[in-house]
């Protein structure tokens, strides 16, 4: 929290108080028993000390404390107001003034003078008070205990607790923030409705808290109500070791001896709790609390043993991992060459070895990649705070739920995913979810839902942000896009295409710019970041029902599955994740399309880009062209090539700075025979071609 505080507010006030103080002291000299005057002097000192400390004037605070202590005694009557006291206090007043002057660039205050005044004041007053300060410091919270522990907190507020303005539920919430928490309410003291006094608290609570914090932190929660309640905090999982050596239960022994069978035992063993409740020994509430205790402790033990299993962790700097990934990449490349050579030589022995190496390389690759994988959960957790803070700020009620937090993704992808997700979630909160009154009118639950999920899908991960807000209005989006000149007025867009407009640069439909979103910057950035991760975005929305944004991301950035294609004697790789199908384009098809670059796929018209034309490559088109149809930003676009070679494990190499302007390629890879193939950035290609065509047609 950065609250900028102007210290001049303090110095001005202090100067004012000091001049008043002078008057008061002079008056006090004439009427040394006037208690109102003594109080006034005390208050002035008290305020200077308190505010001084808060505004960082520690020297002032420390010095004034001494004067205040003496005047506190005068106020309580244990010290008479003498001329000596007034002289010293006046000197103290001047001293405080010179400390303040020094802080404003004046000459430094005389420390000897200060010490002399303090010594004089102390000589006047019998010392006390120092001990209290020390005592309260000693009560500093104990160091945090290692690992989470289970505490049982029994909180029994006095029935009158409400009259101190205390809301016990807030205390329970505070405990919930400390860790995993189970609360059992003990309601057996609740009287019948006629006898119920709504201003009294009849409920008591038993709370089972699994936390890494210590007992003192728990007690601190109840600091204001210490005297208004009975509080019992007990650590539950300490005596673990002894429990292992627990003697066998009677039923277990009887079973072992074969005296009874399991069925008979089960019949006899009605839950102890039921029997106790039936016998009237204990209330059902208390049994429930005890059962919860049992369960929480058990769970904690399981957690601990689980933690112990994965304990053997080696921390490795990520640069070493990157190096390993690079080496594996090289190996995959070399292996491809070996494969090619052994295929050509047709030597059975060599082929056997080559196949074995292929298998091992594949395993090595998968293993290496898995080392870089991290669960996305920690990223998800950050958003809880974001949703909470933003929804409060905007006066909305929103609940964030998550699923698939243990889904693993490449570390680099996770690192770069944070910002785009923040933008999407902000947008959902700001534009998606309506205010509670609006939601009430449309019959939706008041609390809006945002569901964040991650799931594996082949070699990709799908990350979904789903809200039950007002949804996107395709008409409005089209109109706005035309207004902003991002779309020509006669353009025909399908609804999914219209939804993608929200990712355009400078696009915002927000009527007013809030500090949350609405400047049309965020979503454009989202698209760019996702593209740089070789991912795709899909938007689905229903007006009034909600919006779902799905990010499809590759599991890893270093090696991808590609589709190798040829144009002339050059090779290109298209990310296989985007490829939907391949079709042939015959001369007949070309004639039917009257020179336009479109292909008819089972009745659907798909535009295509000829890679040869796009990159001004030489050579003749083959008679039958291959069109690779890919999904680019939710649309089907074809890419015309000469040949489709097939699936290819693509180890991606950066192109380096010399090619930084050739951003239609997102990298390069080395093929088995040493040839370089360029990796196409399909989304960028499509955008550039569209731009070029818009220019050419003058639209």
């Amino acid at each position: 929290m950065a609250v900028e505080i102007d210290t001049s507010a303090f110095t001005e006030e202090a100067y004012e108080l000091l001049s008043e103080l002078e008057d008061s002291l002079l008056e006090l000299e004439e009427r040394p028993t006037d208690i109102e005057l003594i109080s006034r002097v005390f208050r002035a000192m008290h305020t200077i000390k308190g505010s001084g400390a808060m505004f960082g004037f520690d020297e002032v605070a420390k010095f004034t404390h001494e004067v205040e202590t003496v005047f506190d005694m005068a106020r309580s009557g244990s010290l008479p107001v003498t001329k000596a006291l007034i002289d010293l206090t006046l000197a103290a007043r001047d001293q405080i003034r010179s400390i303040l002057d020094a802080s404003r660039g004046g000459p430094p205050a005389n420390q000897d003078n200060a010490n002399r005044i303090i010594a004089g004041l102390r000589a006047l007053a019998p010392q006390k008070g120092g001990a209290a300060a020390v005592e309260s410091k000693a009560a500093a919270p104990k160091a945090e205990t290692d690992g989470p522990h289970v505490f049982r907190v029994r909180f029994e507020p006095r029935p009158e607790i409400f009259s101190s303005g205390t809301n016990p539920l807030l205390l329970l919430n505070e405990l919930r923030d400390m860790g995993q928490c189970r609360v059992v309410a003990l309601t057996n003291a609740l009287p019948s409705l006629e006898d119920l006094d709504p201003e009294r608290c009849y409920t008591q609570w038993e709370i089972f808290l699994t936390t890494t914090q210590g007992e003192n932190a728990i007690r601190d929660v109840f600091i204001f109500v210490e005297d208004d309640c009975t509080l019992n905090v007990r650590l539950l999982d300490r005596d673990e070791a002894q429990e292992d050596a627990e003697p066998k239960k009677l039923g277990e022994i009887l079973l072992e001896r074969g005296d009874i069978n399991e069925e008979a035992l089960g019949k006899a063993l009605t839950p102890l709790g039921d029997r106790l409740v039936n016998a009237g020994v204990v209330s059902a509430d208390k049994v429930r609390a005890a059962l919860t205790e049992q369960r929480v402790v058990q769970e904690q033990k399981q957690q601990q043993s689980k933690a112990a299993e994965v304990d053997a962790v080696v921390r490795v700097p990520s640069t070493k991992l990157d190096k390993l990934v690079n080496l594996v990449g090289e190996l995959v490349t070399v292996q491809a060459r070996l494969n090619q050579i052994s295929g050509r030589l047709n030597n059975q022995h060599l082929q056997l070895v080559s196949e074995e190496i292929e298998r091992l390389t594949g395993e090595l690759r998968d293993n290496t990649m898995s080392i870089r994988m991290l669960a996305i959960g920690s990223t998800f957790n950050k958003f809880k705070r974001l949703v909470r803070d933003l929804s409060t700020e905007l006066g909305k009620q929103i609940e964030l739920t998550t699923a698939g937090a243990d889904t693993e993704l490449d570390k680099t992808v996770i690192d770069q995913l944070n910002d785009p997700l923040v933008h999407i979630i902000r947008n959902s909160i700001d534009h998606g979810i309506e205010k509670p009154d609006v939601r009430a009118l449309t019959g939706k639950p008041l609390v809006g839902q945002i569901h964040l999920s991650a799931v594996h899908s082949g070699t990709s991960v799908l990350i979904q942000v789903k809200d039950d807000g007002k949804g996107l209005d395709p008409q409005l989006l089209r109109r706005k896009a035309v207004e902003k000149g991002l779309l020509s007025p006669d353009a025909v867009l399908s609804d999914p295409e219209a939804f993608m407009l929200i990712f355009g640069a400078g696009f915002s439909t927000a009527e007013k710019i809030t500090n949350v979103s609405g400047r049309g910057v965020g979503m454009d950035v989202v698209r760019k970041s996702i593209e740089s991760l070789r991912g795709t975005i899909d938007v689905q929305s229903q007006l009034g029902i909600g919006t779902t944004i799905t990010l499809k991301l590759p599991l890893t950035l270093a090696i991808i599955e590609g589709l190798l294609v040829g144009v002339n004697h050059d090779y290109f790789v298209l990310p296989l994740a985007a490829v939907e199908e391949c079709v042939e384009l015959s001369p007949q098809d070309i004639a039917n399309s009257h020179g336009r670059r479109i292909v008819n796929v089972r009745g659907e018209i798909v535009p295509f880009i000829r890679v040869r034309e796009r990159f001004a490559m030489e050579g003749e088109r083959p008679v039958i062209e291959q069109i690779v149809i890919a999904n680019v930003d939710g649309r089907r676009v074809g890419f015309g090539v000469d040949t489709v070679v097939g699936q290819h494990q693509t180890v991606i190499k950066n192109l380096g700075d010399s090619f930084q302007y050739s951003d239609e390629f997102s990298g390069a890879t080395i093929l088995g025979d040493g040839t370089v193939a360029l990796l196409l950035d399909l989304a960028r290609m499509v955008r550039y071609v569209e731009l070029q065509e818009t220019k050419e047609t003058g639209g």
Binding site: V3, M54, S164, I223
Partner: protein, 121 residues
């Protein structure tokens, strides 16, 4: 709806610091310079919480707390007092008068917000 907090302190710098901190957290702030001023300002105003100094001219904080608790609208309202370490016994007096909690001066903005979150939610 932003909650309204009344701060009662005779020190303008403390009022300013508390006020800035509260406004920064999105609360509405009503200021009063002492107990008497505070009592005069509470009628009609919907106040969700009161933060009061103890040492003030005209009417001190403890009397203010006692008077506020007599008003039906303030029967269960969180009231936090500003104390100093040297005033341990005053803290008990304040609790007995009906204070919900306390903040020990000097305090940092974070501590103030922490206490407000604690008693106001």
């Amino acid at each position: 709806m932003a909650k309204t907090i009344m701060t009662v302190d005779d020190s303008s710098s403390v009022r300013q610091m508390v006020g800035l901190t509260l406004k920064g957290e999105g609360y509405q702030v009503v200021e009063a310079v002492d107990g008497k001023d505070a009592l005069g300002k509470v009628s009609g105003a919907a106040i969700d919480m009161v933060i009061t100094d103890l040492n003030m001219p005209n009417m001190d904080g403890i009397t203010l707390i006692r008077e506020l608790r007599k008003l039906p609208a303030f029967k269960f309202t969180p009231i936090v007092m500003l104390t100093t370490e040297s005033q341990a016994e005053r803290k008990q007096e304040g609790k007995d008068a009906g204070a919900t909690g306390w903040i020990v001066k000097p305090f940092k903005p974070e501590q103030l917000i922490g206490v407000i979150k604690k008693v106001l939610g």
